[in-house]
């Protein structure tokens, strides 16, 4: 680990873009290997040599494209965050298309979020628990911001949403609570309660707050 404490955002970016097709493959293989190792064995298990090995690439090639170990992990996580952002946004659009039926809309969106997170459970668990520079990755901050923007925009557009003293604060809290609850249940699997039950109940609760 060492004195890798204060990390600059610049250090988290890839060093060089591949120009040829085979280089592109090398680059992708490295990112993919990093993601797999991280998800399967945790942050401490991600060493540059193991990443290179699993990617079927030499350690030298790895450093051709990435300035350091962190940038590999950051690239992998950035990719995942872009995917999740896309899926969640798409899920919202689909939910909004069910305009007349609030219950169906909420239900649809909750399930989209749950699915997006669940599909990447192992990786997210490690990322959230162990990666020290997680919140220095622009795409990670971006996802949080996106969620809040979506929520606040939804509030402004729809008159019927959230009638509390402070609309902005309550919208912030509602989004935070829903997102956290989903994350929590996806990552920590409560023993006695089925996920389906939890999803249904969550929908009920959200409806009651709107």
């Amino acid at each position: 680990m060492s004195a890798v404490d204060r990390i600059q955002v610049a250090d988290l970016q890839a060093k060089k873009q591949p120009r040829q097709a085979r280089a592109r493959a090398t680059f992708d293989a490295i990112v993919e290997a990093g993601a797999q190792l991280l998800a399967a064995e945790g942050y401490a298990a991600v060493t540059t040599n193991r990443v290179a090995e699993r990617a079927g690439v030499s350690i030298g090639s790895l450093y051709e494209y990435f300035p350091n170990k962190q940038s590999i992990i950051a690239s992998a996580l950035a990719r995942v965050m872009r995917e999740i952002t896309a899926e969640v946004s798409h899920g919202l659009r689909e939910a909004l298309s069910l305009d007349g039926q609030p219950r169906a809309g909420i239900d649809s969106w909750m399930r989209a979020m749950t699915a997006a997170l669940d599909r990447r459970g192992a990786l997210l668990r490690v990322a959230l628990r162990e990666v020290p520079f997680l919140w220095d990755i622009p795409e990670v901050r971006g996802l949080s911001d996106t969620l809040q923007h979506i929520a606040q925009e939804g509030r402004r557009k729809s008159q019927r949403v959230v009638h509390f003293d402070d609309p902005e604060a309550s919208t912030y809290l509602l989004m935070t609570m829903v997102w956290s609850a989903i994350l929590q249940t996806v990552l920590y699997r409560p023993a006695h309660l089925s996920r389906e039950r939890l999803t249904q109940t969550l929908v009920e609760m959200v409806l009651k707050l709107l």
Copy 2:
């Protein structure tokens, strides 16, 4: 870091109990130094030599009481969790004593939780984001379980709490959501919204769900 991946719970416990008073002081100084370093500089900054140095103790003495680095951090975090558990439980008892007034009770308890977490914000931030074996620490699991027990017990005792299809699931979710929301706002400090506003709004939302 090395191959410290699969950690046994036994490895997280102190090796030996101090018998003399000066030894007790040494032990405590080590735990305290670990906590301070962790909170101030993050997990990667906690090296055994630095802990010993900050504790004013030699590295040899450190290994007299702790079998490895993780056990120092685990001891520090276990202590904090016990403190938080105590404060939150105490806060609940105080809230319950305000029996007739649900709003005052909820408000009081929310504030107790917020205060308990806020006071240890820096340490908790690092613990939750960076400590790989956090959830292997019995006291950490204990806090989660305690919260759920408190919530479920409260539901059973009080008839007026949570009327949804599935009482157990909704109670689980409510507790999870509230705790997450407080943790989130304490750790991530949303820019535009004051903490006071958020607390008030959270109380309103909880009341609406009960």
